[in-house]
Symmetry: C2
Subunit: 330 residues, 2 copies
Amino acid sequence: MGKVTLVGERELRALVPLDRAAIDAVRGAFLALASGRVIMPPILSMAMPEVHGEVDVKTAFVPGLDGFAVKISPGFFDNPKRGFPSVNGLMVLLSTQTGLVEAVFLDNGWLTDVRTAAAGAVAADALARPDARIATVLGAGTQARLQMQALALVRDLAEIRVWARDAVKAAACAADIEAATGVPTRAAAEPRRALAGADVVVTTTPATAPILFAGWLAPGQHVTAMGSDADTKTELEPAVLARADRLVVDSLAQSRRLGELRAAIAAGVLPHDFACPELGVVLSGAAPGRPGSDAITVCDLTGTGAQDTAIATLARARVADAGAGLTTDT
Amino acid sequence: MGKVTLVGERELRALVPLDRAAIDAVRGAFLALASGRVIMPPILSMAMPEVHGEVDVKTAFVPGLDGFAVKISPGFFDNPKRGFPSVNGLMVLLSTQTGLVEAVFLDNGWLTDVRTAAAGAVAADALARPDARIATVLGAGTQARLQMQALALVRDLAEIRVWARDAVKAAACAADIEAATGVPTRAAAEPRRALAGADVVVTTTPATAPILFAGWLAPGQHVTAMGSDADTKTELEPAVLARADRLVVDSLAQSRRLGELRAAIAAGVLPHDFACPELGVVLSGAAPGRPGSDAITVCDLTGTGAQDTAIATLARARVADAGAGLTTDT
């Protein structure tokens, strides 16, 4: 009936790197969200405690794009024991004209990694001081690396600091970031000191209790918290949100359920019906961004289906240009 | 990282026909649902009115099966004008041990067609009289054909009648059913007369207002309504449910939201918190089936993720046995 293009992880890593085009695609997704015309249903989430696994499915229709992605993200937490990453999965791109399947990206989560890091760059570009030079990342996983690579594409960094509970992992992460960005990067022994003097702070952990505290913040800093995407997670002490001069989230509905707003509301620090601007609204100019160079800005990212649709659309274009993938009749 | 097997519609039609094994697999899914250990989250549903389209995503974890399916079912209602079917889509099978993608079935809805028709056979086998000989189907689409093929696998039919609003389509459907089943089949001019004397009645339409009325029913009949799977659809006059001596549904949660229970509750014919046995509970023997040969039995089917997981598991076994599909590294 139709033709479907199948593309594996290796090809996708080569064709869809974390670059300015990826950041622009994700910025476009947030702007579309602000238009109010994006359709983004609640995430389908299934926990399978019997097998220590879960699966999330996200989708979004973004007017103007000729495809929409359905992303299947499983997380199986015994995988590292077996030598596999916990999170993998795939994205399916369907036509917005016919609903026919156009592409299956067997990316093992790579496109999610890219669109997640790109969102961090979009947030920092919108909210951090233009002259930001020092960045600190908390966490030492894939996103710690990619968030710093993405940030280096939108700010002229002079120094990067990495803190993680495991000092060995922090050192390895710092070496990887320096190799990837060319920015002098070092592991920090203590998170509070890693934050002192930093212009941009990005938290990238699966923490279930705060790892960043309001008392550590100083005027002029920007914080992006991208770790919490479940109602069991939180990285920021609720007082961080209260202290922010400007608080922004990628999706109010999601941040209230899965992100930092959830924990702050649960703690009574923010009211039940708390609202703040979404990132796309700030990007569009309809809500103000950074109030001044001495302000503290905070952005919470939970990850949206609109980003998936945007990155899958970019991937399809790159795959078509390269004549890559395997095209099969269905 | 892993190996993924890709299989197209043509191969799947050949390897996973509507047969007794498919019916047994779907019966197993309903029994599993009755065990209370199946995890089946609400359907992810996204309407895209701007493009006259929608997409549904279903999944279910069935203990004892080593994979779980995530099914993506788009419906794009301008497709027939373009020469495509409205509904197509694919199923992804993931490992319950690792969450890794094991197979992508580019089936354009074929596996759904099979598991849906198989559920009709399971319902009739559980609830229709063992000596049922005459079947009537309302509707003349794919499911009208497949429901009668499935029914012919569980009952020794002597006559099949087809009614649809479009008499030309009804005649074509009758000819197809007779060719597929060998059972004498004719189109009926009028639905009430098509029901008179029938032992099993199956409704297979996307009707948004009742097409089958309580006054038409006679003792000893069994009715399966499989058309309604959305909160805009209904095939049975609410009084049909009230008149049933035994009413059964595939999933109470789904039937209340998307199936015949919804319309009957909305009409005030059934109470808001109405409950009746689910099909799996009847199959397990924990709830009674047909009370006697003169009873009227009714089963509402909305379609469950557990059926998708069951049929995808069968498909994977058949594909592996045949060495079919295209296996690729990811």
